[in-house]
Amino acid sequence: MGKKTPLYDCHLIAKAKMVDFAGWDMPLNYGSQVEEHHKVRQDAGVFDVSHMTIVDFHGKDVAMLLRKLLANNIDRLVPGKALYTCMLNEQGGVIDDLIVYKMSDEFYRLIVNSATRDKDIAWMQKQASGFTIEMTERTDLAMLAIQGPRVRDKLANVLNSDDLQAVLALKVFHAVQLNHLFAARTGYTGEDGFEVILPAKDAAAFWHALLKADIHPCGLGARDTLRLEAGLNLYGADMDESVTPLVSNLAWTVAFEPAERDFIGRVALLKQKHEGIAECLVGLVLMGPGVLRNHQKVIIDGLGIGEITSGSFSPTLNKGIALARVPAGIGQRCRVEIRGKEVEAQVIKLPFVLSGKKNNIVTA
């Protein structure tokens, strides 16, 4: 028996197929993950993401600590604004990727992955020694991701008018703390939507209100194909401690300026940059029918080989798609080895799908 989120019983009622995910009993799908995927692209879906780890940092040294702990620069934030960033080790390897919300000068909220929870907490505690901060893991909270083009309309039947107004006014990557819930205009699907954090005891009632508003329950299966189409990395598959953000399509999340901000991993990243970036993470679309899978070999004529880090099937494109780590300088074509056969794939600029629209895809 794994850990249960506050919505576990709700998943059973919704006839979820439950699976183990990083020690949690989580819904894989509620019947068809492809249908759930399309609901989020075309309509509205809700995901239970309460397994993710919410850590609140309070105290006068919080900003100072986060300037050191995170590769992106929290000084870019004003209260109510969020930032996507990696947390690196001294070698520049990715310990985890996370979202940091600035709530005030002395209060920041970090949301990290559940699979990396133990090492993240240990690392943060270690780095926090000597700083005047208080770090609190919020196991008392539940978290829901409400995603899709029709979410804004449908929330009118869920929230009271004051809350609705505040939530709908949020700009992308902004957050607000209301009386009973925290809402952020963030997500992991490539669609518009919100992530909502609320007390665990209120989660089931909120979930039922969302379902009643015709927002469809969606499982981890759809969450994975949606994020892949959106070109968003999955920690543990597309990056881990053995690679840096610079070879993981995440250079944009590393703030080298101002030069005096000495974040952990900075020296290693500058060295890697100076020596030349030998690999990159790109999107692949299979030209013919089939499905791309993790760890398949990618062959680039005259350049060498690479490997698929996340492969699946895109319900939107109806094609096999993948993220792959390949030698830098890859052109527009490569081959992927599937069951001993080499098949043609197109290299594309990410994402595959953006706000419901197919992006950059040549259907030749």
Binding site: Q33, G221, P289, G290, V291, R293, F313, P315, G320
Partner: protein
Amino acid sequence: MNNSIPKKLKYSRTHEWVRQDDDVLTIGITDHAQTMLGDLVYVELPEPESNVETGHECAVVESVKAAADVYSPVSGEVIEINEALLESPQLINEDPYGKGWLFRVKPFESEIAEDVAKLLTADQYTKQVASEAH
């Protein structure tokens, strides 16, 4: 999980079903197999007129989640494949024992008796599925 296992079909331990109509055998994957795989999005079927061998890989079914080999429950010549699956693999999810059939085989006479004897009855297959769940 309340999967259907029709009484009139025979089954393999590797979750294929077999229906005999005179001297032709139709083969597919069971409702249990498609449920475990989830939404199917791609199939590779054997070449028509090729030979398949008992217990050997002869087709691949892929869901969003995973790829699975299909093992031929009998030896024989492939006389027909379900071409509708190439465009609509979800037929396997929707109707695993009907529109979701994979291919038809004319069994080798010398081996058919032995092959069919090795197949499971619906009751035996039901027990196997139940035991795998524990």
